[in-house]
């Protein structure tokens, strides 16, 4: 879990190099890789996979996991198509209802984690079976054909090699990126992760995170603007272990263990 928290900035560069080399090798080995249609298909797969990965990323940033992403996605897709195909709902309403259902499923996960304090891995493993089971129980594993043409043509639409579908992903990705950079909610995710695991509640961000843990509603009021960047800067500029305040759970008489000392001297999290 600790390793998931820090994302080294060098890693992204390395990945970019691997990506570029991979593309180069593939386009040399199989020239059809660069064909317009293949780029379109690859881009479309990418735009779906990226959204799935972002769905996991926001949960990982809390230091938790969500194994039910796949079943929530499947359930939402089935409900949306069921509303459109079976009940003839107009497309926007069905999509809205589907997104709402996704939010509800996520909030169910969140509430259960909050109330039961069960490890999110086990909890979402259980709910993933529940969501997938509901999906199969409703549909008896028969797929919906004849999806409205607006939907299916949207998936096929392309401008050159650029899949129109990718626009959705790009907007959401940029939105999430700017959210983690600027908004107080986004920037405090890593704080919740660290403070949750350490259980400290003294500092501003600790207060914030405990407040968040107490009130699991979807739009908490943030008590104070909390900028992770100032913390990060401080901890880098001065050698003092400012990033991770010690946990009050440890009795002050006991000397800090090596592990704790090492942890608190290093910056404990960083956005890429």
């Amino acid at each position: 879990m600790q390793r998931l928290r820090g994302v080294a900035p060098g890693l992204a560069v390395g990945l970019l190099v691997i990506d570029l080399v991979g593309m180069l090798v593939l386009s040399v080995v199989t020239p059809s890789f660069l064909s317009t249609y293949n780029l379109f298909v690859t881009g479309r797969d990418l735009s779906i996979l990226l959204l799935v990965a972002l769905a996991q990323m926001v949960v990982l940033s809390l230091g938790q996991m969500n194994l039910s992403i796949g079943s929530i996605g499947g359930l939402v897709a089935i409900i949306e198509s069921g509303l459109m195909v079976r009940y003839g709902w107009p497309v926007p309403f069905a999509l809205g209802a589907g997104l709402l259902l996704g939010i509800v499923c996520g909030i169910i996960n969140g509430l259960l984690v909050h109330w039961t304090k069960i490890n999110s891995f086990v909890l979402t493993l259980a709910t993933s079976y529940i969501f997938a089971g509901i999906n199969l129980g409703i549909t008896h594993a028969t797929p919906f054909y004849h999806i409205p043409v607006e939907i299916s043509s949207f998936g096929q639409a392309r401008i050159g090699a650029f899949p129109v579908m990718a626009a959705v992903t790009i907007v959401l990705t940029v939105g999430l990126f700017s959210c983690t950079r600027s908004s107080s909610a986004g920037s405090c995710w890593p704080w919740v992760a660290t403070s949750w695991q350490r259980g400290f509640q003294g500092s501003r961000c600790g207060e914030l995170s405990s407040r968040l843990m107490r009130s699991p509603d979807s739009s908490p009021r943030w008590p104070a603007p909390c900028s992770w960047r100032s913390w990060d800067r401080d901890s880098r500029r001065s050698a003092r272990p400012g990033c991770c305040p010690p946990s009050p759970g440890r009795s002050s008489a006991a000397p800090p263990s090596q592990a704790e000392a090492r942890r608190s001297s290093a910056p404990c999290w960083r956005w890429s």
Binding site: M1, R3, L4, L112, T116, K117, I118, N119, F121, V122, L123, L125, A126, T127, S128, Y129, I130, A132, G133, I134, L136, G137, H140, A141, S257, Q258, A259
Partner: protein
């Protein structure tokens, strides 16, 4: 554990009243055999949970070893004993491979085994071309069919009980078992008190591989077929039995009898719900709910106990 026993007995009473044929010899036989396999899968996960790791490759290793045993018996025509030994050795090697990757790269075991799971399954599919082996020798398949001492109990149940006894002994009496729990409870402390954590991780993942291989062999013996899809649905089962039985997912605490009871409960529920004509799909929902309830109850009782003491 007592609560779990009461719940299990309660379900048995409920199903023997509500579902006709639940107590028939045939049904008890297949229920216990299914439970034995589920529990062995749970053990494969339990040992890695005890050191605070996870092994998402349990199903992949079980499926691969099952396919290898099928290949050795059907294509090479070697006797089942050889196939079993060979398959278990492969299971152990795959477990060692996981452990080496974890200790060398220091990557989280979750990520490592997630990756090796698809590696192992992929290699197995490439090597076997996804063809099942269905002509297994009679001496191997009949092992799961005979009844022990006239009771509705397959020898597989005895295998499972033997494994359970061995694991119980391991955690209760052997130094390796204690070391595993120490590593699970606090890895840093274990390292600082002179334990070779890497060695413990290595033996634990090897043991998990052997147990997953055992489960794979039991499953192909019961199915009479080594099918490439074997193990693909083991993930929930591998976590449910230990989690219901009170094994801590963060490591340091295991319960072998709890895992046995958890597996029996899991098998009872899926068998009983099928008998009372509940749609197979809804059983999945029910299993998820049972896992939630079991872990939640465990939390509650532990919190209550902690407050009292």
């Amino acid at each position: 554990l007592l609560a779990l026993l009461i719940v299990t007995v309660g379900f048995w009473i409920f199903f023997s009243v509500a579902a006709s044929g639940f107590t028939s010899d045939f049904n008890l036989f297949s229920l216990l055999r299914f439970a034995a396999i589920q529990i062995t899968i749970g053990f494969a996960q339990m040992v890695v949970l005890s050191i605070g790791d996870m092994n998402l490759a349990v199903g992949a290793i079980g499926g691969a070893t099952g396919m290898i045993a099928g290949w050795v018996m059907q294509i090479l025509g070697l006797p089942p004993e050889v196939a079993v030994l060979f398959a278990l050795a492969v299971g152990m090697l795959l477990g060692f491979g996981n452990a080496l990757l974890i200790t060398w790269t220091r990557i989280n075991s979750f990520i490592v085994t997630l990756a090796t799971a698809s590696l192992i399954t992929g290699a197995m599919l490439i090597l076997t071309h996804a063809h099942p082996f269905s002509q297994l020798p009679d001496s191997f398949t009949s092992f799961s069919e005979i009844e022990v001492a006239g009771l509705p109990m397959s020898p597989l149940v005895l295998v499972m009980l033997g494994v359970a006894a061995a694991l119980f002994f391991l955690y209760r009496n052997l130094s390796l078992g204690k070391e595993m729990l120490a590593v699970g409870a606090n890895r840093q402390a274990a390292r600082m008190s002179g334990l070779s954590v890497d060695r413990v991780v290595l033996s634990t993942h090897g043991l998990s591989g052997v147990l997953a291989g055992t489960a794979g062999l039991m499953a192909i013996s019961a199915d009479h077929t080594a099918s490439p899809s074997l193990g693909s649905d083991w993930l929930l089962a591998s976590f449910v039995s230990p989690a219901i039985g009170g094994t801590l997912l963060s490591g340091g605490l295991v319960s072998v009898p709890g895992t046995v009871l958890g597996g029996v409960l899991l098998a009872t529920i899926s068998n009983g719900l099928l008998l009372v004509n509940i749609d197979n799909f809804w059983i999945t929902v029910f299993l998820g709910v049972v896992l939630l309830l079991a872990v939640g109850l465990d939390r509650l009782t532990r919190a209550a106990g902690g407050a009292a003491s």
